[in-house]
Every structure is written in C-alpha cells, then in structure tokens.
C-alpha cells in the first residue's frame, strides 16, 4: 500500500509557515526563550513559546473558549489541508480520518480547573473548563472545523507518539474507503510542565539544548503543532512506518533504536532526522546511528525549536520532507564539534538525497521510526 504526504503545516516557536520556518532554520536561527514563573513556585523556567502574532488569524466559533493547544492544532491542520489542495468542507468528511498525537494535553486549563478545586473546593469547579481538560478536546474542535464525521482518534504517548499516529494512519489507510488521513501533533506549555520535567531530571533551566553532548544537561520545552495530510499520492512517500516498541529501562533504549534503524536501512539512507534533545535519548540515538547507519548525515532541530513532546515527531517528519525537498540540512545548533557522527554542523548540501529516516525515542519508554522518500 502506498502512503504519501500530500501536505504539511506547522506552528512553531519560530513562527508558522513551513517554508518560512525552514528558511530560518537553514540560516541557523533558533527560537527565543521565554521565562515562565508561577506565583506559588520558587523557580523560573525557560521555554520556547509560539509568538502570539502567529495565532492572531486563527478564529472559529468552536475555538472561542478552547485552550491554546486546540488553536495550535487548528492552525497547523488547516495549513496542511490547504497545502494538500483541500479546503475545509471541500473533502468528504467520512472519507477523511483525523489522528491526534498528544503527550501532556491541555495542561493550562487542567491546571486552572484543578486549581479552583484546590483553592476553593469542588463547588468552584468550572463546567466550562472541564471539557477542555479532556485529551480529545483539540481533536474534537478540529473535526468540527474541518467537517470530519468519520474516524477521529487521539493517541497519547511520549515524544514518539507522533510516529505512532502515523503508523496508525497507515493502518487506517489500508481501508480503501478512506482517501485522506490528517495527523496532527500538538502541545502547549505551562510553568507546571517545566517544573515537572525538571523534577524528572530531564530539563535544564535555560537554553541551549546541547545535543549529543557527553554531559546530558537536559532539554528546553516548547509548544506548537505539526500536521501532515496523508494520501495515496504526494511528493513524499512514507516507505515504512516502523511501530518500534517499548523499553523497560533507559539503558535498553539503544537496543530498540538499533532494531528500528536496522529494519529501516535496508536501502540507502541519506539523512537521519534525530530526536536528540539533550537527555539520555541522545546517547541511545547516537550509539544506534553510529552502529547501523554511520554514513548518513544527522540532524536534530530541537536546539532550535525545543522539545515539543507530542508535536515533536511530526515536526521531525516535516523537517525530513523539507530536507529532501531542498536537498540541504540546516546546521545543528550547540552541538560539540567532537561528536563522531556525520552531524550537519553547518548548513549542508545533500545533492541527490532521496531517503530520510525519522527516529524518535521518547522519555517515557516509547520509540519508533519512519522512512521517507522523495518522489
């Protein structure tokens, strides 16, 4: 079965518009960090946030009370749909499936809702906020906006959940009654999330993310959304969506990544879009890449865009598509020159590059991969 990318869209801390953000990445730009603080917290954190100006044009009655995570998803989803030549309402809503990839979900409204309970008791709980705390609220809003009436799924997982969503899309598209599947990864940021990841020893207090560093200093969280319109034909073919698997301990992550890479590299691989983010993930990925595809160029966009967890792997797929389309890679920022992999330390041309692997290892025991080819 042929599965192709017909259109992509994203909302990132570097702005919206696939080409615009890609151009900034090629020029070595990185997002500006915002300091987040909280009345009851004694620490501040840095995070990469989506500029408010990017969201100014996103309006729909369904989004009036929705959390920002739903607005990110709507903006990216609409862009992907239009890039694929579709308009909301112009497609058959029963022949289009929608799959969301989410990790932390609507944390802003969840915190606000629960905060009311903690501060003032259950009687102050807001019936308007509660529905927005549910994981599938963003999917529900986008389905309504796009008029999708068939299959809608929300998948929850760690940073690899975006690839799990694409794998699920591949399974759904085996059904010939579907024409399209829109996969959307989305995440919003809050001080509470930063504090949680810091206590989990995965976060550093301020940028940069230093990928593949021997000392794993941690990641910086970010927010936004990525969307991919999957169809049977398009400029990029998903040759294999590898389901990966679950590892029981961090030290076992490398084994599963090696297996994924081994399964995906039966043909010439030009570039690996890594999920390296300054945590234990980097060592696992670097060992696997070094052993299985040592000749491939390697790029990670996380030093520039941050770790957007639920959106991260979808962004990686978009980065892979852009790299193949433009036949070049942006510089990997803040990487030490001593790294032994073929890291694109500077803007790097890849003439004739045809295939990319997207590798994703989440921080909560999930890993997956994908091989993408340009037509």
């Amino acid at each position: 079965m042929s599965l192709a990318i017909a259109g992509v869209g994203w909302v990132t801390p570097l702005g919206g518009g696939v080409d615009s953000v890609w151009d900034q990445l090629l020029r070595g730009h990185e997002a500006s960090a915002t300091t987040m603080s909280e009345q009851f917290g004694d620490r501040s954190y840095s995070a990469f946030r989506v500029p408010e100006s990017v969201m100014a044009s996103v309006a729909h009655p369904r989004l009036r009370r929705a959390s920002v995570i739903s607005r990110f998803a709507a903006a990216a989803g609409l862009d992907a749909l239009r890039a694929g030549g579709l308009e909301p309402g112009s497609h058959n809503g029963e022949r289009t499936a929608l799959i969301f990839a989410i990790s932390n979900g609507g944390v802003v409204y969840t915190k606000r809702f629960y905060s009311n309970i903690v501060e003032s008791g259950a009687q102050s709980a807001s019936p308007l906020l509660f529905p927005e705390t549910v994981f599938n609220a963003p999917a529900s809003h986008l389905a309504a906006i796009l008029g999708i009436t068939g299959a809608t799924y929300t998948l929850v997982g760690d940073g690899a959940v975006g690839l799990a969503a694409i794998k699920m899309a591949e399974d759904l598209m085996a059904n010939e009654t579907l024409d399209y599947c829109l996969v959307v990864g989305t995440e919003e940021i809050d001080w509470l999330l930063c504090d949680a990841y810091r206590r989990w020893r995965l976060l550093r207090s301020s940028p940069p993310i230093e990928p593949f560093n021997e000392q794993q200093r941690g990641m910086i969280l970010s927010e936004g959304a990525g969307a991919i319109l999957l169809a049977r034909e398009g400029p990029f073919t998903i040759e294999c969506a590898h389901p990966g698997g679950c590892f029981s301990k961090r030290t076992e992550a490398g084994d599963i990544l090696k297996q994924i890479l081994s399964d995906l590299s039966e043909t010439q691989i030009d570039v690996v879009i890594s999920g390296a983010n300054g945590t234990f993930v980097d060592q696992a990925e670097s060992e696997a890449i070094g052993q299985i595809v040592p000749d491939a160029l390697v790029y990670t966009g996380k030093p520039a865009l941050g770790e957007s967890v639920g959106a991260a792997a979808v962004w990686q797929v978009i980065l892979a598509a852009q790299a193949l389309r433009s036949a070049e890679l942006p510089p990997v920022l803040h990487a030490h020159s001593a790294v032994t992999m073929r890291l694109s330390h500077s803007r790097t041309s890849m003439p004739g590059a045809r295939r990319a692997i997207v590798l994703s290892c989440g921080v909560n025991q999930q890993a997956a991969g994908l091989r993408l080819a340009i037509q």
């Binding site: 009851f40 917290g41 029963e94 022949r95 929608l98 990790s103 979900g105 915190k111 809702f113 629960y114 905060s115 309970i117 903690v118 008791g121 259950a122 709980a125 019936p127 509660f130 529905p131 705390t133 549910v134 994981f135 599938n136 609220a137 529900s140 389905a143 309504a144 008029g147 999708i148 009436t149 068939g150 299959a151 809608t152 799924y153 929300t154 998948l155 929850v156 997982g157 799990a164 699920m168 399974d171 759904l172 085996a174 059904n175 010939e176 009654t177 579907l178 504090d195 949680a196 206590r199 989990w200 020893r201 389901p243 990966g244 698997g245 679950c246 590892f247 029981s248 909560n364 999930q366």
Partner: protein, 408 residues
Amino acid sequence: MAQPGSATGKKDAARVAVVAEGVISPLGFGLTETLDSLRKSRDCVSPVKRFSVAQCRCKTAGQVSDDRLLAGRGEAPRSRRLHRASHMMIQALKEVLAQEPRFEPELTVIGTTSGGMSYGEYYYRSLRQAGDLRRAPTWIANYPAQKPVIDAQVAFGISAPCQVIANACASGTNAIGHAFECVRSGRYQRVLAGGYDAISELVFTGFDSLQASTPEKCRPFDRQRTGMVLGEGAAVLALENLASAQQRGAPVLAEIIGYGISTDNFHITQPDPTGIGAQKAMQQALQSAHVSAAAVDYINAHGTATLFNDAAEGKAISALFNGVPVSSTKGMMGHSLGAAGAIEAIICLLALQHQFLPPNINFGALDDHLDLNIVANKAPPAVLRTALSNSFGFGGTNASILMRTFEA
C-alpha cells in the same frame, strides 16, 4: 458512508478471534467474580473515600478495592511506586496471559481518559500547599497515560508497540475496534486491546460540575434517571487472526465481527440529540460485519443514565433495531470512562459464552419517549449469538463493536 469495518473491502478479510480476556472492575477481580456479579445483579457502587466529595452532588462511584488490588503487588520498590491504574492493567493482563501464556502481541491498543491523574493531583496539591514533594519524581514519571500500559507489558516481558487511545468515554471500544481492524486487514496476527481508568478527584469533580453525575442511584433509560456515577477498572482482550489461533490450538472464546466509528461534531459534551452519531456507528458496525440488525440478540448500551445520552442513544437504537434486549451495566459498576468499552465488551463476551442477558439495574419504568426492550433488574437466561456494545464520548466520538459466538 465510510465503512472502517470492511477493512480493505476484500471478502477474504481475516476472521478475528478473542482467545483470552481479563478484567478487573467494581464487579470483581477476574472473569469468575464478574460473571457472578452480573448474574446476581449486584449493585457495586459505594461511597467515595479516596478524596473529599463533601462539596459534590454525587457521593458514590464504582470502585476497585485497594485492599485487594495492592495486596498482590509485592514489596519491590518499583512495584510500590506504580499508580493503581498500572496495578489494574497488570491484573487484567495477568488473567489474559494465564489463559494464553503463548500469546505474543505485535501491537497493544489500549483506551484511557485520564492516565495516572491522581498522581498529578498529589503533585499539584503538594506544590500549592507547600507539601512534601520528595515523591514528586515518582508521581510525575507515573502520571503519563501510556505508563500503566507499558508497566503491564513490562511486568510480563512484553515490548510490543503501544497505541494509547484517548477518545474520551469511547476509548475502550475504539481500542478494541481498531485492534479488530488491524487483525482483520491481515496486517497483524495478534493484538492486545482494552482499556483502563482509575478514579480521580479532578475527573469526579468535573462530571459533578457538569451536573452529569447523580446524587441518587444510576438508572439508565429510566423515566426517573438523574445522571451517571463514575467507575474504574481495566479490561484486556487478546485478539488473534482466527486461522492463526486455530493453527496453534488456541481456544476461541468468541469473534469480533464488526466495528463502527463516527464523529458527530454537535457539541463538546453533548451528543447530537437526534442520535445520528450513535446510529451511524451502529450501522457501520453492522455493515462491516455483513449482518442485519435483526441478527443482533443483545445490545450493551453506553447508557450513562444522563438525560441527553440515554435519549439520543435510545432513539438511535430504536431507529435501527426492533425489540432487541438492551441493557446498560453502568448502574451496577458506574461509568469507568476509558475502561468502560473494554469492560462492557467482556460483559458481552460473558453473556455470549454463558447465554444470559446482563441486567440494567435500578430500573423502574422506561422513559416515555423511548421505545426499548430493557433487561430490567435481573439477568435472565437467553439464547444469544450476536451482541453489540456501544460507547460514546465527549467530543462527539461514537463507537460500536459487534461480537459473535464462535462457530467453526
């Protein structure tokens, strides 16, 4: 109309066997206790003690006993750190693997709505109230929704990829339905599917704030119904390509034969009052199974006992079916959200295996606006071949699955 259940549209689509099942819910630990509670029409809803409900309208829920759940967890530090949702998933998977120790899944698809929510609550309360945060790393690491699924897999040496579906209250049925499609299409031979959810203060208060939960008994489809009560639990089914199961001599408990999914886009918390979303899901399940409505012998309804759900679902059922026995088992055990569809699938399978109708308890008189044949208060014997299970959720998500007794 899209027909997910028709798989690739090929007539030679694989048949999908249920080769093992495991469940933990307020009805009991395991299949035997669950069956006993169903046959005795046991009301397993009890006062909530895990958190304060003093300011809530509703004070009760279907709950899994911690005394029993945590008694078997062992003393290992890792086990003691796990969320109780993980222990529920471990318990359900343990029962599956006790029946089918050779079952090696290629994929695990599990539904949930709130993961380890209570750990998130502990963390937030401790932050806000300057409490003891020494356990915060444990709470945070065990909070994610996929963690109980991975914990259960790790407990039994399984490393299959997990798809954790969070489609609100339809999650469990969506998980089984998607797993069914995966096997039916021939892309997978063996898939674990199910759902879990553990009760939490945030979710309990949320439904209370919507006035969806009731201070009274939960009375699905009753004229006097006033709302739902929450529940919790976990259920797992082992699905396998029938030919593969037979080849290796695995027992076939029943078959999943159809799946329907729809999104009605009416409102984020309310179903389309016409019942069109529910109707489409049921129709698709029938079409994908290539069976007529007349072939269905029993419907396990979503039946939350809210005014809106039961009215819409009742309309949808009576539009498609003529006098088929219908019950909602949520009056006995509460609404376990992401677990509900999976637990109710197992209730249907038990009904098919043991030839009885699961009861709709606390039932007095049917809503005047509905035309349904409710299985009122008792679990009568019945000849059953095909059962339908419905689950509908926030966001207008609707799912139905069809199950049938196995005939070679």
